[in-house]
Amino acid sequence: MSHLLLSMTVNGEAVQVAAPAHHTLLEVLRYKLDLIGTKQGCDKGDCGACTVQIDGVPQLSCLTLAVHAVGRAVTTVEGLGQQAGGCHPLQDAFDRWNAAQCGFCTPGILLSAEALLRRCAGREPTRLQVCEALAGNLCRCTGYTKIIDAVLDVGRQMAVAAAASAGEVAHAE
């Protein structure tokens, strides 16, 4: 089986990894790069556990060929905390709300949720927007309630922070 040498950026670091052409990004992340935070629940698009971000957009790594990530920036849950200097506000909120029970769906949900909040750009998301953004990620433990609470909590904090900094800007002018 011939291997290809694939170059991509993973969590801000340039990596090169050898893998056969028929390997998925999920396999390469988990078994070649030891980024085990990305989970596998079905391996064919039905559950969302394998969600990562590619160039900032949530995608399913089980349905992405590793070669498709070449030259692109992949963010996994390991990188989410790094981005925010250790612990992302979503991770903190999920922890406070007990939004992770078994935690198996959580990495994927965090990456979908982060993209939503980024797009909200300081506007508070509604409950429906949260549900819509996370609707490709199954969770079997929580009944979703605490996850929604946690995401809304961060959304609210971000909106407050955005309003405050807008206020400061206005003030400065």
Partner: protein, 791 residues
């Protein structure tokens, strides 16, 4: 067993960060499939494409000849049968002479990678002789001959278990009842759907010790069965349960993969991993038993239950699993929260050529609860009594005994009813909701662990060991399996409460049979009560030692010393305090190394004195009330569940949000079963699985799930740690009948069969319309005209 002389509740009932959530969220926790060992091989299992067939021969040679293939095992390597219930060992790790369902394991092969293992499985030649397969339990039960007997170890044809118990003169009481409600109910099969697929890894150390890491919720039972089947002494085996990605009962017994990795590791001398595909998880199953239930319930004019007569057929699938217990549970767990005048149940579990059924959250009792709560609703309508009032009138109360002689301690059921009634606006709103909209209520109860372990023994049901060290930290060792429900955090909360340490100063090491005391595992909602009590026992012994040493140095009586907030404090002079590390050092100087063990055994006076009277008896019972609001689209048959209010009596919530999370997660799971989930095989297509994927087995998404309002009720039980009872399974039960009853309230139809799929709703509406036109029924209730328009 609250301990008397401590600062009350400095941790209990608060909101806690879980001890192990952050590592999971950062992607550093190693679940089973995240383990990678040097030289590790990957194994795959070749499965039967036949629902029922004799194996005439297996040719492994073509597979073994492939480069990269290391070893293969077949049923011949596992001739000793096992079974989670010691009385019914009726399955082998791989099929020995015959296969009993599509997906039954036949050969396991270890190879350099999964691709090679798959290719090797394809190369194996199995010679099958297909046999007549049975997919209908009643048809299977009718067969008596050896040829038609599905399970090779069965001695009673296709009867897996039969239980008939009668308490009081049921027939006489039915005859004397003012109202008898008769109903036929059908509970379809459903499965757990944990997002993490099963996975196991085995390693044989040079010393010969076998270590098996497995995504299991019962490491101790796995340990025992591995020893039995592999014929190894238990002390040469170590079982470790890594962090687990959900279980819900689906990982509560040994599966083929654990035996296979162990044997293959022994054969090859290399570590071996086996990860199920999602499809294989569906074949492993052990989900909720489909049940056909025939109920007759007699009532007095004022709504009191005089008699309950239940006949149930359980569709068990190919193996026993927990089936013996399930068959009892299908009757034994129904006897609260209502007092029954008399009761009889007659339950028969059949073997069929399907993946085996077993325990799913709310084991054995979700199905009868569904039947019973609809029976009550029908009676309420017939008698013109408010459904909540009817339930109140039958409340069994606290500190009492059920008709089947189980002792009930605390009981918060009436408060549960009151809470959902008030929160939903039942009194004001119900009568005003027009046609198409409705509210429905249902109640239930569940055990907090069973009084007797699965295999008879006189040893404690739970044990915990705690060590304190001079840095001011506690280590808790427990065999219990945290499956996501938060049991490790529960142990930390109790330790924290007793020893005054913040949660982050406590390390919980669990579910490793080498390091931890035996625990029976995460099933029957036993951990908080049993392991919690054992933990409380150990922690309070340590607390006494520490307080004593501090008191000695302060020259005050011991009970003046309080441990809280990482300090030892003088209750009467709060300015006097030392930090925990100092206190522990004093205690270590006085007592030597600070370690204590605690254990828990159940009280043995809770059950009935008859054969089977121990099965279902529990130290304490939780209670739940669900109230659902639905909107029914009478043209499409689609049921939209708007909101579910849930009040659950867990005795004492040790950690508030974790308990709420259990209530929400349980209710969600019930909602999915009620409306969309269906697990089964296709008899028209040789018993192939009806759709073994998370696409075809539809679990509700974020957009499908109704708003869930969880309310905690606390009726502390003398048998629970600080009064705590279970919260992980009870709050599933009544969600399903609450929805069914709400549908009746909305449009006047009874759905006695799950799931409440749109075609079934439409069929029931058409039948009602027919009866209205025939003058047998009057229109259900007023409402906007458009709501009535039919397809």
């Amino acid at each position: 067993m609250p301990s008397e002389d401590r600062e009350r509740d400095w941790q209990l009932g608060k909101v806690h960060r879980k001890v192990d959530a952050m590592e999971r969220m950062r992607g550093v926790a190693r679940y089973t499939d995240d383990l990678k060992l040097p030289g590790m091989l990957h194994a795959k299992i070749l499965r039967s494409p036949h629902a029922h067939a004799r194996i005439r021969g297996i040719d492994l040679a073509p597979a073994l000849a492939l480069p990269g293939v290391f070893a293969a095992v077949t049923g011949q390597d596992f001739k000793i049968p096992y079974g989670i219930i010691p009385w019914t060992p009726d399955e082998n790790a791989l099929a020995v002479d015959k296969v009993c369902h599509v997906g039954d394991g036949v050969v396991a092969i270890a190879a350099i990678d999964e691709d090679t293992a798959n290719a090797a499985c394809k190369a194996v030649i199995v010679d099958y002789e297909p046999l007549r397969a049975f997919f209908d339990p009643e048809e299977a039960l009718a067969v008596r001959d050896r040829e038609g007997t599905i399970n090779p170890y069965s001695r009673k044809g296709n009867v897996s278990k039969h239980v008939l118990l009668e308490f009081g003169e049921v027939d006489a009481e039915l005859a004397a009842s003012d109202l008898v409600i008769e109903g036929d109910y059908e509970f379809g099969g459903t499965t757990h759907g944990a997002i993490e697929p099963h996975c196991a890894v085995a390693l044989v150390e040079p010393s010969g010790i076998l270590t098996v890491w497995s995504a299991t919720q019962v490491s101790h039972y796995l340990h025992r069965e591995l020893a039995k089947v592999l014929e190894l002494p238990p002390h040469r085996i170590r079982v470790i349960q890594p962090p687990l990605g959900g279980a819900f009962g689906g990982k509560s017994e040994p599966f083929d993969l654990e035996f296979c990795v162990a044997k293959l590791a022994m054969k090859t001398g290399r570590p071996v991993k086996l990860l199920y595909t999602r499809e294989e998880v569906f074949y492993a199953h052990r989900g909720r038993h489909p049940m056909k239930m025939k109920y007759r319930t007699g009532f007095t004019r004022d709504g009191k239950i005089k008699a309950v007569d239940a006949r149930t057929i359980l569709d068990g699938g190919a193996y026993s699993s927990f089936g013996l217990v399930t068959t009892y549970y299908s009757g034994q767990l129904l006897c609260a929260p209502y007092a029954f005048g008399t009761y009889r149940f007659d339950s028969t579990r059949a073997y069929t050529n399907k993946p085996a059924c077993g325990p799913k959250r709310g084991h054995g009792s979700v199905q009868p609860r569904f039947a019973m709560e609809i029976q009550l609703d029908k009676a309420a309508v017939a008698l013109g009594i408010d459904p909540i009032d009817l339930r109140r009138r039958n409340d069994i109360g606290a500190n009492t005994q059920t008709i089947n002689e189980f002792r009930v301690g605390s009981n918060g059921f009436l408060e549960c009813l009151a809470r959902v009634e008030a929160a939903s606006g039942w009194r004001e709103r119900r009568a005003k909701l027009g046609y198409g909209r409705g509210l429905g209520v249902a109640g239930s109860t569940y055990i907090s662990g069973t009084n007797y372990p699965i295999y008879p023994n006189d040893m404690p049901q739970a044990g915990v060991q705690i060590c304190l060290d001079r840095s001011g930290r506690a280590r808790v060792f427990s065999g219990a399996n945290d499956i996501g429900q938060g049991s490790n955090t529960m142990l930390a909360v109790i330790t924290s409460e007793e020893l005054g340490l913040p949660i982050e100063d406590i390390r919980v090491l669990s579910a490793d049979t080498d390091l931890c005391p035996v625990d029976l595992g995460a099933y029957s909602s036993r951990i908080t009560l049993m392991v919690g009590n054992a933990c409380l026992d150990a922690a309070s012994k340590l607390r006494r030692k520490v307080c004593e040493s501090v008191a000695k140095r302060w020259k005050v009586p011991r009970d003046r010393v309080v441990l809280a907030g990482r300090m030892a404090i003088d209750r009467e002079d709060p300015d006097r305090h030392v930090d925990s590390a100092q206190a522990f050092q004093w205690a270590e100087a006085d007592h030597g190394l600070l370690g204590e063990v605690g254990s828990y055994n159940t009280p043995k006076d809770r059950h009935g004195e008859y054969r089977g009277g121990t099965i279902g008896a529990s130290p304490a019972y939780s209670f739940t009330a669900h109230l659902a609001e639905v909107e029914v689209d009478v043209e499409t048959g689609i049921v939209d569940v708007k909101k579910i209010w849930i009040a659950h009596d867990c005795g004492k919530a040790l950690s508030k949000r974790i308990v709420e999370g259990q209530i929400e997660g349980s209710t969600y799971m019930g909602f999915g079963e009620a409306l969309m989930e269906e697990h089964g095989v296709d008899p028209e297509h040789r018993g192939a699985h009806a759709g073994p994927s998370l696409l075809d087995y539809r679990m509700p998404t974020f957009l499908d799930t109704p708003e869930l309002a969880a309310m905690i009720v606390e009726a502390p039980d003398a048998n629970g740690p600080y009064g705590a009872k279970e919260a992980g399974e009870g709050p599933l039960h009544s969600s399903i009948p609450a929805i069914a009853n709400a549908i009746y309230d909305a449009v006047g139809i009874r759905l006695d069969r799950i799931p409440f799929s749109p075609p079934r709703v439409l069929a029931a509406l058409a039948e009602r319309r027919r009866r209205e036109l025939a003058g047998e029924l009057s229109p259900h209730k007023p409402g906007p005209d458009h709501a009535r328009r039919s397809a």
